[in-house]
Symmetry: C2
Subunit: 592 residues, 2 copies
């Protein structure tokens, strides 16, 4: 037997017992005739005492050979510590070791196995098995496991059935790029890995499954960044015979329950915001509500006063940063102006107004607007003495986006995004379609299966091109602290309407039939009204812990080149494998 | 709102309430002035009553248009039925309908949506969404979901952490064929889909995760048959600092708990059988213990009596089929002989002995053996009057396999594999290596990471070629009713021993390093002793329900050509996709 107890459970009441523990050597302190070693496993750390006087010389010498991360088994007696450590749950006791087995030696790890490691990200990814030994990483993975348990518990209690949908499915050009899998048995044909189980969960609704969920891996062959991975996990859900309201209530209930059970946080009811309001007030469809700083549109008070930049703008809009007029120097404002002018933001300039005492103002546009004019802005923005107004202008959508970025930046700079503060929000009534100027075609704002609002169905079936831009959908996102945690919609369940939507999205009838014929067919055999939602599980883990990167919540993440640094994948495969799969590597273009 | 109740929950105590239900039309009976319609959803069936006298003519006419599988919403009053149906949970009541909405019409389904459908398998797979509406299929998927919940509940309570391992990994030629995924970002390279998360779970043990599990999709590009699918699901588990005994106890506990919680069956403690005994007594490593009919070896009593077939055989071995001597005619035995002579079984012939009254026998080898000689066989086999002895002879391994097949066939014919009878069994002490005469190399009996028994380590490191054939492993299978439900082993956790095993399996050091260098490396940084097991989840579902095929426990299975008949995958992909992935379709050989 390797252990009678783990390294986290011995307490003062175990004193006198003989125990066996196994684990990793965290560190040793050698005081000549006494040696203390911290033994670590998943559950904690227990101090071992090697006492030269009480043990055999062989045991003591063997203990001296122990290096960091050696794996050992010890047997000994639990004794009360002379100097207790109240920071460790096992800090009242130590083990006077009478027997020591070195189960495995260890080379010195390439970085320290401590909460704050000295290893860079690349090194830690290559030696991920050492990285996971560190408490912060290990605890993130345990959190994830616990969260999944709570998700399943809640949804099962609500009558949801977890159904596994296939991983080897069919490639569809719509949406992001597919990963594909050549078929050996079907020459020249390919499976695709699912970007989501969307069509399958709808098929399950047609099959009468009524309430479906799945915690499921999804795949997108996109260019990567910190919060994107080629494989990621969704909490995927679908319900039949439901309205949007019932879906929102169900998953608001899930979210509250998860926060309560894993973080002991009681979330209040989630506010709901129209997509249009989110864009108008925050310039983004996933506003961070941990702070206010809502947009105020100033067209009526700032235009036609002779400042051509504003006069020529479609929108003049500002935010009010409270109480920083004095502390923000001209240099600070210059830097902020440069910040919004960076290509990633793309604003042409930044107008500011500092609200001084007794109705006096300092502004970059003081020569165009006198204090009385500026006072109307200040009043409109509900600003008060000491506040700093930041104003952008230009084309409506772009300016909103830019000011949205600036608002978030000010929130960060002013420390308004407090850790442990959670502000969930439903954003609802998204547009059905999005017109892409570049490709001159409609994209589905959510996905091609999203239903227009009932009131818009007639307009969708019979309206003209411009009408399509104004269609609204029963589509909704769950946003927490500025992160999109989940999104979903009521789906189309009618063949005619689905065909119309495919047509609007640029599918020929043949393409629609080829890719989604099974779904269109299913709609003819008694499809119920249905809708659903999918949560980004990796991101939910991160957001619940105030983290911005999802990587540490994934046991074996890939880097930005899509590589697994530990196993060194992807890799070359044997020519025989290619042959069996009926594919060749593409010949490189001849060098010119 | 689509419903106040589902179609399975209304009872006599709801009489008088106004309710709204939604569901599918199962069938209607039109009696002219009254019409009854069964409305079905996942939860049950409720009878609707359309009464011409009490409802509007429009409502009644609308009800008359309802076809099978139409999706409707009705509102009405719960009334007590005149003629109750005690076979339906809702059979005491019906709904007097006052309002009817046809939510979706339905074409006539291509097969009947009844427990016994008239649809063939191909048709049911193509219209899987209709097939799943049938109770037997729906209930299998719900059983699967419930079983997964119970697995997670049990293992979580035991301290196991569910960790998601990657799906995009590295191709390794060992084992079955990999599915591969061309990498767009890494030209000429491929990911592979995991045949199991084996190396990752071992890495998790090196990372100190201590107890890991995952219900996880695995992939094998093998030729398919009824109980194999290209993608299948495992309950994958691994533990650190454990002996084989502790693993067996843990997963015996899991299995008992699953039978108890989902089937309300209390399994007794599982017997354990050495691999060698299983082969010797049942001719197979997964004996069905629902019936006895153990092998008796007859070399000492049947050889050297002048019957050259036996004399030249390495093994003479028989089974005793009780009480069928009289009912099995010469014709029956001829048919049985033909059965064992089929190429799939491959026996040369079948010797029988019928045990008659007063020490008389009837046998196909009567002219070589007198009654006294046959009496020694009968005694050895513990046979009694009326029994039929069936005896095969030849090369040991082949003959055991043939008799194993015959034993199962007799079990089937005699109805000895009773439904609802569960006989679990641990088969232990598998050989480490298997010598393949054809390729003249060793294969890993379990997999290349399995450890030899401690007592065999020295012989493995220093023994000769013949010694390797006799090495035993701490490897075990869980068998229920002749199906292998799970299998696992204690793993190697030492770099030297793992390298030796790779060498025995024919890897060059470079190949071992290229494919498994990360694992060999991990073993140098403090790998704990560890071991684990994986259960075939699909098969567990099937076996627990006495089914032989796993297909109906998979929501969207593939056919024997690896095709999803519903979505019609795999399929051709666009030339641009191939180009982005840096691959071409192989040119077909020029026709001669």
């Amino acid at each position: 037997m390797y252990r009678t107890h783990n390294c986290g459970e011995l307490r003062i009441e175990h004193v006198g017992q003989e125990v066996t523990l196994s684990g990793w050597v965290q560190r040793s302190r050698d005081k000549g005739f006494m040696m203390w070693t911290d033994l670590r496993d998943r559950y904690g750390v227990t101090q071992l005492l090697f006492n030269q006087e009480k043990s055999s010389p062989e045991l003591f010498e063997s203990a001296r050979t122990l290096g960091r991360e050696f794996v050992v088994r010890v047997t000994g007696t639990v004794i009360e510590r002379v100097s207790k450590n109240d920071k460790m749950p096992t800090g009242d006791i130590e083990i006077e070791v009478t027997s020591l087995d070195i189960l495995n030696a260890a080379k010195t790890p390439p970085f320290t196995i401590e909460d704050d490691s000295d290893g860079g990200e690349e090194l830690r990814m290559k030696y991920r098995y050492l990285d996971i030994r560190r408490n912060p990483v290990k605890e993130k993975l345990i959190f994830r496991s616990n969260l999944a348990i709570e998700v399943r518990k809640y949804l099962s209690h609500q009558g949801f059935i977890e159904v596994e949908t296939p991983v080897l499915i069919k490639s569809t050009p719509e949406g992001a790029r597919d990963f594909v899998v050549p078929s050996r048995m079907n020459e020249g044909q390919f499976y695709a890995l699912p970007q989501s189980p969307q069509t399958f969960k709808q098929i399950l609704m047609v099959s009468g499954m009524d309430k479906y969920f799945q915690i499921v891996k999804c795949f997108r062959d996109e260019d990567l960044r910190a919060d994107r991975q080629p494989e990621f996990t969704q909490i995927d859900c679908e319900m039949s015979f439901v309205t949007q309201e019932e879906i929102l209530n169900t998953f608001e209930g899930l979210t509250k329950s998860l926060f309560k059970s894993t973080l002991d946080i009681e979330l209040p009811d989630f506010p709901r915001m129209q997509y249009d309001d989110a864009m108008r007030l925050y310039g983004i469809d996933k506003p961070d509500l941990r702070f206010g700083m809502e947009f105020t549109e100033l067209n009526d008070v700032a235009q036609n006063k002779g400042f051509s930049v504003f006069d020529n703008a479609e929108l003049v809009v500002g935010i009010c940063a409270e109480g920083i007029a004095d502390s923000y120097s001209n240099k600070d404002i210059k830097k902020l102006t440069e910040w919004v002018q960076r290509p990633q933001i793309g604003a042409k300039g930044l107008v500011y107004v500092k609200v001084g005492k007794d109705g006096t103002f300092k502004s970059s546009v003081g020569k165009f607007f006198d204090d009385a004019a500026l006072a109307t802005w200040v009043e409109k923005m509900n600003a008060k003495e000491g506040d700093l107004l930041l104003i952008l202008s230009g084309e409506t959508d772009k300016t909103r986006k830019q000011l949205g970025e600036l608002r978030l930046e000010m929130g960060r700079r002013l420390g308004l995004m407090k850790e442990g503060d959670f502000k969930p929000l439903w954003v609802v009534d998204f547009p059905l379609l999005e017109w892409d100027e570049d490709s001159e075609r409609f994209h589905a704002m959510h996905h091609p299966f999203t239903a227009p609002k009932k009131a818009d169905v007639e307009r969708m079936l019979n309206g003209d091109h411009e009408t399509m831009k104004s269609l609204r959908a029963d589509a909704y996102d769950l946003v927490i602290n500025g992160s999109e945690i989940g999104g979903g919609s009521i789906r189309i369940h009618d063949r005619e309407l689905q065909s119309k939507n495919f047509e609007l999205l640029g599918f020929t009838p043949e393409e629609a039939e080829d890719q989604f014929g099974f779904l269109l067919g299913a709609f003819e055999y008694g499809a119920p009204p249905h809708g659903g939602i999918a949560f980004g599980f990796d991101r939910l883990c991160a957001v619940m812990n105030g983290q911005s990167s999802i990587r540490d919540y994934i046991a074996f993440p890939k880097n930005n080149q899509g590589r697994d640094m530990m196993i060194d994948a992807p890799s070359h495969i044997a020519p025989e494998q290619l042959e069996e799969l009926h594919i060749d590597l593409a010949q490189k273009e001849a060098e010119v």
